[in-house]
């Protein structure tokens, strides 16, 4: 495990933030995306959601189609011109925008713009803990959960403790660690369909580790991993519910 303090883009609480929902959340976890916005707004931050946004471009970038990835990335960057932090409910997409955009634009006339944008990118859970220093009050029933961190959240964004800190604030939530919790779930974007058999073996092991925890809920802050693990658990007839952490946090702490 590399331990590093994530650069949250800003040290003090900003008046406004941009929200980049990511394409996976947009399509498959829209409620979680909205919960992320609610969590930010509750802390007194104005959240701006540019409706023109689509995808960070990671699938094409990782596949070697950098020209196509750059066109998509350029279209996104143009939508976030003000000096607000750009908050993402995904460690993987955040890693793409923060660490790979500068490389993607290397040698391009707008490399400086891409770098400036990248410097403002921050993942949701690290923003909630590191910048907003949220204090959560649990209003939910007793429950046992387990946590899956995306590889890119851990290794590119250096996020490990942050989501655990948030869950630790919830009195009625017991967090059980996954065996081999640092191992990839087998999603890997297009990897899952390029190498379906290896990916299947990986997600089979991960889903078995999830079941072994006897937790009722698997939480993660990345839509790709969730889609993958939930898909496998569901196909096996498991009743473990797989949820984005933003959704879980909002539901348990909102005033009704």
């Amino acid at each position: 495990m590399s331990v590093s303090i994530p650069d949250s883009g800003t040290a003090t609480k900003p008046e406004a933030v941009y929200y980049f929902g990511t394409c996976l959340v947009d399509l498959f976890y829209p409620e979680a995306g909205l919960s992320g916005i609610r969590l930010l707004e509750r802390e007194g931050v104005r959240v701006v959601f540019p409706q023109g946004q689509t995808c960070c471009g990671q699938p094409a970038y990782n596949s070697g189609f950098h020209q196509e990835a750059r066109t998509v990335a350029r279209a996104q960057i143009a939508l976030f011109p003000k000096p607000y932090p750009v908050v993402l409910p995904s460690g993987s997409c955040a890693g793409m925008m923060k660490h790979h955009y500068p490389a993607l634009f290397e040698g391009e006339p707008d490399v400086a713009v891409a770098r400036e944008f990248a410097s403002r990118v921050v993942e949701l859970t690290s923003f909630l803990t590191g910048v907003l220093r949220v204090k959560l009050t649990d209003r939910g029933e007793k429950t046992r959960v387990t946590w899956h961190s995306s590889c890119h959240a851990m290794r590119e964004m250096g996020i490990f403790a942050e989501p655990r800190e948030l869950l630790a604030q919830l009195d009625n939530v017991e967090l059980v660690s996954l065996a081999r919790e640092f191992e990839c779930c087998g999603f890997g974007g297009t990897f899952a369909v390029r190498e379906p058999e290896v990916s299947a073996a990986m997600v089979e092991d991960k889903s078995a580790d999830v079941q072994a925890t006897r937790a009722s809920t698997l939480l993660s802050a990345d839509g790709g991993c969730l889609l993958n693990i939930a898909g496998r658990l569901d196909a096996k007839g498991s009743l473990v519910s797989c949820r984005h952490v933003a959704d879980f946090l909002w539901e348990r702490t909102r005033e009704r």
Binding site: G21, D26, L27, H66, E68, E156, E195, P196, S199
Partner: protein
């Protein structure tokens, strides 16, 4: 590598491996053990970071003056009485080794572990020439008996368990009685090998570090077979890839520490040999002749590109494969490449061509575990992406260009990304597609070409009822 032979393929080999429960259990157990042992060695993250930075800096400095250091190494070795030979490729390397052996009429050769010799397919070549090379590293000895190739660069027989080795020994070693006891199995191999060391006409070894300052060849091992192979026969031939040079003697201890702790979780190995030349006039043992064969085999082309040259920092510890979730599941043979695992995924396509070995570049989820544990800081995932780009967008000519650049591009996939680009740069089109997907929801047929690979073991993904774009607009989240 010859372009005429059909390209090896990862996928079918991986598929076979995945259906072999014994193989999978062998790798899982072994990798879990190695991960644990390495973790214990680097329990202190500050010490790990410092040592890794030092290792990366040493290897970086070495690469920065690689041509000069190789010249200095040659001069220092020559002063020490080590004869230095340069081999452009495997063919030249094999011919050099054969020439030395022929000069001495050598027909029996003992070898200690050398991945460069695997790269040269030296054993096969020597056997064709009527020379009998015997592997003396226990793991290498096992796979040689089994007519197999190494499945791991440090632990070549790691794909086998105790019972499989017991059966192999029972079948192949006449004087051995069947046993599954590890100590007894080791003793059987030891008895066979002991005799061979004294009968051998020549010894062949690899090199872990070659010191330019002093002309010293360092050999890291645990079994004593490295010392026996290099000191008992009257001729010693050491083989190294040209990247194995380091500048000074003081560069060795940190690299050695990183190597053993990363590889097997050992603070040090049982043996560490420093070979500084043939037997002197007053000395009673050691070989009469020491030869060093320095192999290029595509390395100087890799060296041309500043980013890709990182590949040459590798000290061959194998930690990247131990921590790789793909390697752990399919094992080393699935890669159909001398160097398996993550380091093989970046090294092999550069040596053989990014078109020919595009299969290896695809076999990664880019989880980053390899880069995280690399003791010399090679950013393997970034290099995989770089090579994928070379395969798609690269130009085949010009200085420093990657072998077979641009040859991984396929019309159908390129068309798919062009459509993807169009859909994601036109936000109106994107929202229309999102609208359609969220309304169709459960109507996505699971047999769709790409989707069917997903649904082979997973339920069909179901989009939400409305997109986040819609939810945000309805909730009055400002769109600015």
């Amino acid at each position: 590598m010859s372009a005429e032979t059909p390209a090896p393929e990862f996928r079918p080999a991986a598929s076979r491996a995945l259906r072999d429960p014994e193989l999978r259990a062998n790798f899982r157990r072994a990798m879990d053990g190695l991960i644990l042992k390495r973790g214990e060695q680097f329990a202190d993250p500050v010490e790990w970071n410092d040592l890794r930075n030092l290792g990366a800096a040493i290897r970086g400095r070495t690469l920065a003056k690689l041509p000069e250091l190789l010249e200095r190494l040659e001069a220092a070795c020559t002063r020490n009485g080590i004869r230095v030979h340069w081999a452009r490729d495997a063919e030249e390397g094999n011919a050099i080794v054969l020439g030395i052996l022929r000069e001495h009429g050598a027909t029996r050769v003992v070898k200690s572990k050398s991945m460069v010799s695997e790269e040269m397919h030296l054993n096969e070549y020597l056997e064709e020439q009527g020379i009998d090379p015997l592997e003396s590293d226990l793991g290498e000895y096992i796979i040689q008996l089994d007519h197999e190739t190494p499945s791991h660069i440090i632990a070549p027989a790691i794909h086998m368990n105790r019972r499989q080795i017991a059966r192999l020994f029972g079948k192949k070693i006449r004087e051995a009685r069947y046993t599954e006891d590890i100590d007894e199995l080791t003793a059987i191999a030891r008895r066979v090998l002991r005799k061979k060391f004294f009968e051998a006409d020549a010894g062949i070894s690899g090199v872990n570090f070659a010191v330019a300052e002093t002309g010293t060849l360092c050999l890291v091992e645990n079994e004593g077979n490295g010392r026996m192979s290099t000191h008992v026969p009257s001729v010693h031939i050491a083989l190294m890839g040209l990247e194995k040079v380091v500048e000074n003697l003081e560069d060795v201890p940190p690299l050695y520490s990183l190597l053993t702790r990363s590889a097997t979780g050992q603070p040090i190995t049982t043996y560490f040999n420093m070979i500084s030349g043939p037997r002197g006039a007053e000395e009673k043992d050691g070989p009469a002749e020491v030869h060093l064969v320095i192999l290029d085999n595509g390395r100087s082309r890799i060296f041309e590109d500043e980013a890709l040259a990182q590949t040459l920092k590798c000290i061959r510890c194998g930690a990247c494969m131990n921590h790789c979730p793909v390697y752990t599941r399919v094992g080393g043979h699935a890669y159909q490449s001398v160097y398996p695992g993550p380091i093989g995924k970046i090294l092999t396509p550069q040596m053989e061509g990014v078109g020919r070995r595009h299969d290896l570049l695809e076999a990664s989820s880019l989880c980053g575990a390899c880069g995280e544990v690399c003791p010399v800081g090679i950013r393997i995932p970034e290099l995989i992406v770089r090579l994928r780009r070379e395969a798609i967008e690269g130009r085949p000519d010009g200085p420093g260009s990657v072998a077979e650049a641009g040859r991984g591009r396929h019309a159908l996939e390129s068309a798919a990304w062009t459509i993807w680009e169009a859909a994601l740069t036109d936000s109106g089109l994107y929202r229309a597609l999102g609208f359609a997907a969220t309304r169709l929801r459960r109507l996505l047929p699971p047999w769709l070409p790409v989707l069917s690979r997903w649904t082979s073991v997973r339920s069909t993904p179901v989009p939400g009822r409305r997109t986040l774009h819609e939810l945000a607009r309805e909730a009055g989240v400002p769109d600015e």
